[in-house]
């Protein structure tokens, strides 16, 4: 009976969850406040905190909007890559309750995750060196050395 109730509750939450963009959440905070929503985005930076409540910042894949998500230790272990320079973070789908002013975390605008899944694995990538820029720097190096020489020659005269 208890299991049935939980399945019912879980599917009710799942059914009612609306997929929204992070920007949309910010723009229509009042509407989504306290509701179950689904967001998708890249896990960035690092996980923060210890124990059963860990913060992860999720950034929209295409726009510069990010939000803090509170998730459990089990959920956090699903995320392997956190986005930063030369690392594309895992793209995750988070289902949870959106709070404009979280009661549990006063002063925070956050999402309390109910379900977290990685929909695309992130990866490390290398940036190719621009040979053009390197050649340009070499040319500039010769010009600078010549000008320094010219300056010191004139300075001695003065």
């Amino acid at each position: 009976m208890k299991k049935l109730f939980l399945i019912f509750l879980f599917s009710a939450v799942l059914y009612s969850s609306e997929k929204v963009k992070i920007k949309e959440l910010y723009e229509n905070s009042e509407f989504y406040n306290g509701k179950s929503i689904v967001i998708e985005g890249e896990a960035i930076g690092e996980k923060m905190g210890k124990g059963d409540e860990i913060w992860v910042n999720i950034k929209d894949e295409f726009e510069d909007f990010a939000i803090g998500v509170v998730m459990s230790k089990i959920d956090i272990e699903k995320i392997e890559n956190f986005g930063r320079y030369r690392i594309k973070g895992d793209i995750v789908r988070v289902e949870g309750i959106y709070n404009v002013n979280c009661i549990k975390h006063p002063g925070e605008r956050d999402i309390h995750a109910i379900k977290v899944e990685v929909i695309k694995k992130g990866e490390r990538y290398n940036e190719e060196l621009s040979l053009k820029k390197i050649y340009l720097s070499f040319i500039l190096l010769f010009i600078t050395v010549f000008l320094i020489f010219l300056y010191h020659k004139k300075e001695i005269k003065v």
Partner: protein, 499 residues
């Protein structure tokens, strides 16, 4: 008639401008070191390029104008204004090469915002930016906050030239009899706080599960942008990234220390702790923060539903402190300010931003000493009407020492006050021309001119180019407090009129 600049004037201007450009060339070596440390090869090449480019321009100018001579007031003011523009253009080069900016104008905007310690940003995808570029953004805040000229004072300028150029960068107070010693003191204080707070923030970050390298990288960047009241941050979400009330408290402390006069810092360093309770400017500053927080809080809870005491207090107090000190750090976001803060609280936040921090600090805005002096004069006038006409009223105030209020002080304070308010409003009106509501554009204009950096969302890469240029000018003149920029403009006009 506008007095002409002579050829000798030009020689002095070009000579010292060239030297300061050379200084920038060497300053690029620090982010280059960071790039090499993190094995960021492309950024490393960009910093080599930027450094060589600055050095070649600097040496070219100096080799054409090699004679070193004492400079006069108009030269000093012109150098101070000109060098900020040149640093903006050159400092923007690695930012533009990073590929995180849509245009060179956007990188110039960010560069001026950093140097003027404003904190308004146009960067794209900051969360994936290389550490060295990010370090450069924050290091520019540190250079600008301390003062480009102040740095030059330690190396190039001596004697009367030093005193003149020091004033040109909107610093009037001489903490020590010699401006070079004053410059040294300011740098020593800043470096000591840098070590202390980088350690504190780094340890907090490690407790929050950051890796050692990331913890201290974030810590040093947050300190540099906080102490110099710039408000840049390592991640897109600014201070909200950390989700930590403790970080809010520590950054509040850093920014208050940054917004306090270096004169007061000197008094504390020399053991005169009573100065905190006696200093007229500091008292005015603290009273202003307390009252504005209180009223903004009352407005917030009156108009905002479903919010508890601690949440609203954390948000309001942080933003008022952030606005008043001119740092522009946020533990929320621009949408929060735009959509959640009632107009009443937003207006109080605009007032806090407009007032600014203390004189001879790293913060911008009108400055509390000027506000205090004008209030003193008001008190004197009111008193004058209630006493016999023959009575001579002398108003005194304590700022490091006991000072009698003079008409010149009040006149200068009033001029600067009027100039700031006029610029806030003009910028606000220009914002409305592009279709933004007046209150929001006034907020953004005040934030730019008072070098704060809080935003209601107007500042973004999609904003019109003309508005970007408007804010660049506001940041520049706001940082230099008008006078030296006016002298510079006068110089440009004199170039156009050969007679």
């Amino acid at each position: 008639m506008i007095p002409q600049f002579s050829r000798d004037d030009l020689k002095g201007i070009f000579h010292y401008t060239g030297k300061l450009i050379i200084l920038l060339g060497y300053l690029f070596l620090l982010p280059l070191f960071v790039a090499l440390l993190y094995k960021e090869w492309n950024p490393a090449n960009d910093f080599i390029f930027s450094s060589l480019f600055s050095l070649s321009i600097g040496y070219l100018i100096v080799s054409q104008f090699p004679e070193e001579s004492d400079i006069n007031w108009r030269q000093g003011m012109t150098i101070a204004s000109l060098i900020w523009l040149i640093y903006m253009f050159l400092g923007a080069i690695p930012l533009y090469l990073s590929g995180h900016y849509r245009s060179y104008l956007d990188s110039c905007f960010e560069s001026m915002s950093a140097l003027a310690t404003t904190g308004l940003v146009l960067v794209n995808n900051l969360d994936h930016m290389a550490n060295s570029y990010n370090f450069w953004r924050h290091f520019m805040c540190f250079i600008g906050g301390q003062g480009i000229i102040l740095l030059g004072l330690l190396i190039f300028f001596r004697g009367a030239s030093a005193s003149i150029i020091y004033v040109g960068e909107a610093r009037e107070e001489k903490i020590l009899p010699n401006v070079v010693q004053t410059a040294k003191f300011i740098w020593v204080v800043s470096m000591c706080y840098l070590i202390i707070f980088t350690l504190i923030l780094g340890i907090i970050n490690i407790i929050h599960s950051f890796s050692f390298s990331r913890a201290f990288f974030h810590a040093i960047c947050v300190f540099m942008a906080g102490w110099d009241t710039a408000g840049f941050a390592v991640q897109t979400q600014n201070i909200a990234y950390y989700h930590s009330p403790l970080i809010d408290i520590i950054t509040s402390l850093i920014v208050i220390l940054g917004a306090v006069s270096f004169g007061l810092h000197y008094a504390l360093w020399t053991g005169k702790f009573k100065e905190i309770f006696k200093n007229y400017e500091f008292k005015t500053f603290m009273i202003s923060i307390i009252f504005l927080t209180l009223f903004a809080y009352i407005g917030f809870i009156k108009f905002t539903k479903n919010i508890d005491f601690f949440s609203s207090f954390r948000i309001i107090s942080y933003h008022i402190i952030s606005g008043h000190t001119g740092v522009g750090y946020t533990n929320g976001d621009s949408f929060y300010l735009k959509n959640y803060l009632p107009d009443f609280s937003l207006i109080l936040l605009i007032i806090a931003m407009g007032l600014g921090g203390c004189s001879c600090s790293t913060s911008g805005g009108i400055k509390m000493l000027r506000i205090g002096l004008i209030l003193k004069e008001l008190k004197k006038e009111v008193k004058g009407y209630s006493l016999p006409t023959s009575t001579v009223i002398v108003e005194k105030f304590h700022h490091i020492k006991d000072i009698s209020l003079t008409d010149t002080q009040v006149k200068l304070s009033s001029i600067i006050l009027i100039m700031y308010i006029a610029t806030y409003i003009i910028g606000g009106i220009i914002g409305t021309f592009f279709g933004y509501p007046f209150l929001h554009s006034l907020f953004e204009s005040t934030s730019a001119c008072a070098n704060v950096g809080l935003s209601v969302g107007i500042t973004n890469p999609d904003m019109p180019n003309l508005l970007k240029i408007t804010y660049i000018i506001e940041m520049w003149i706001g940082r230099l407090e008008f006078i030296s920029v006016f002298v510079f403009i006068k110089y440009l006009i004199s170039l156009r009129s050969p007679e």
